[in-house]
């Protein structure tokens, strides 16, 4: 980020850009960690490698977003300090990404929901007038399109597969649906920046998500769920019990040996 770009931002805009970069970074860090838990447990070799590769992409993307968040915040925090030295309530990822892997159908349904959301968000964010964020969005979008394509292919194969695979994928879709409202409503930072015209409003993104997700699920012979008890709060640091366990594993080495290098 150049000094000129930093100076031209109004303090309020800068604060919200920090939040937005942090939220995307946290989503990708936590999702990447979840995917890395599959390493060595994939259903077959190629898929094991695919999950590992997607996890690596997510971690690299998280690093880019978190590094930018640290710069915007201006308190000297790096991508590493943000990832390793914050507590649960300071993470602003959505609930969806912290949900446990479950079976392979659960992991793929989670991926499908999130990748479609992220792709639509990034399509808009890459045109954002704040170029450091637009640059990361552009890079991340290219990779996310492959992740989305991979998840969609699995949705079709499992949804429109055997009775057992369809049952499992439908169960995963039903189980995870309650976490999608948080994506469609957008965070406070997203709403603010949407009003400023820096990125599409959450409503616009949600409409396209709903439409495309309905198309995908229908093609995969799956029902679109109707849920009323939607879960929210991740963007405000309110998480499910799952996140603490994940962070314990993610942060233990860095916290046990602060400043360690290898």
């Amino acid at each position: 980020m150049t000094e000129a770009q930093e100076i031209s931002l109004a303090p309020e805009t800068k604060q919200h850009l920090f939040q937005l970069a942090l939220q995307l970074g946290d989503d990708l860090l936590i999702l990447g960690h979840r995917l890395s838990e599959w390493c060595g447990h994939g259903p077959y070799l190629e898929e094991d490698i695919a999950l590992g590769n997607i996890a690596l992409d997510c971690l690299g993307e998280a690093q880019n977003f978190l590094a930018l968040a640290g710069e915007l915040e201006g308190r000297g925090r790096t991508a590493d300090t943000l990832a390793y030295f914050r507590n649960e309530y300071e993470f602003q990822n959505c609930h969806l990404v912290e949900q446990p892997n479950g079976d392979f159908a659960m992991t793929m349904a989670r991926q499908l929901f999130y990748d479609l959301y992220l792709s639509l968000f990034l399509e808009s964010l890459q045109r954002c007038s704040f170029s450091p964020l637009a640059g990361i969005a552009e890079k991340t979008l290219k990779e996310t399109r492959y992740h989305l394509r991979h998840a969609k292919e699995w949705a079709l194969r499992l949804g429109d597969g055997t009775a057992e695979s369809q049952l499992r994928f439908q169960a995963a879709v039903d189980h995870l649906w309650i976490y999608t409202a948080e994506l469609s409503e957008g965070s406070q930072a997203h709403r603010f920046l949407g009003e400023q015209g820096l990125v599409s409003t959450p409503q616009l993104i949600a409409e396209r998500w709903q439409q495309l997700m309905t198309e995908i699920l229908t093609e995969a012979q799956l029902r679109v769920p109707v849920s009323t008890n939607m879960i929210r709060g991740g963007r405000e640091g309110k998480h499910s019990e799952q996140l603490g366990h994940l962070l314990a594993e993610l942060q233990i080495v860095a916290r046990s040996y602060p400043g360690a290098t290898w």
């Binding site: 996890a55 690299g60 890079k139 990779e143 198309e215």
Partner: protein, 169 residues
């Protein structure tokens, strides 16, 4: 003063650690080289500073750090003590930047070179990838991700050979 071309020539020695037959120049990873004159440099015998701008192929590519180190090491070894590597993210790396020579080298080592970029988000037109062994287009995609993030796994139904395809990005 050294020229940009001379530096680019030296950087041809830096190979992509994941696909060693390609150099970082072939891959389009080197975006620019700047030769700066720094009169206040502590080493009075040489006031030239070389800035190498690189772009990552994939955000999570584990080879990037190694590439950065090897760019530094190669230029240091060739008499440039003051080198800075800058990472640029935009415009994002694309397989369109692979040189024609790179495509030939990929094919010669049984990796199908990347096809044109597709723009779809959810619907992708099926690609017809030519087998690098027999050139047949009777091929199928077996896995979207291969041995590295940048490749997928394909199979040729004509010559019954599995092969890797360098994904278009």
């Amino acid at each position: 003063m050294v020229s940009k071309e001379e530096i680019l020539k030296l950087l041809e020695q830096v190979r992509d650690p994941e696909i060693p037959l390609l150099s970082v120049i072939d891959m389009g990873i080197i975006r620019d080289v700047l030769i700066e004159n720094c009169p206040d440099h502590s080493d009075a015998s040489d006031t030239t500073r070389v800035v190498v701008k690189i772009t990552p192929t994939y955000s999570g590519c584990p080879a990037m750090h190694l590439i950065e180190e090897e760019v530094l090491a190669t230029l240091h070894a060739n008499g440039f003590p003051s080198v800075k590597v800058e990472v640029v993210l935009s415009p994002a790396w694309t397989t369109e930047w692979l040189s024609a020579a790179a495509r030939e080298k990929l094919k010669a080592s049984a990796i199908a070179p990347p096809a044109a970029i597709e723009n779809g988000l959810v619907q992708f037109p099926p690609k017809k990838i030519a087998c690098p062994f027999c050139n047949s287009k009777k091929t199928e995609l077996r896995s979207e991700f291969g041995s590295t993030a940048c490749k997928s796994l394909c199979f040729c139904k004509e010559c019954n050979q599995p092969f890797e395809y360098f994904k278009s990005l």
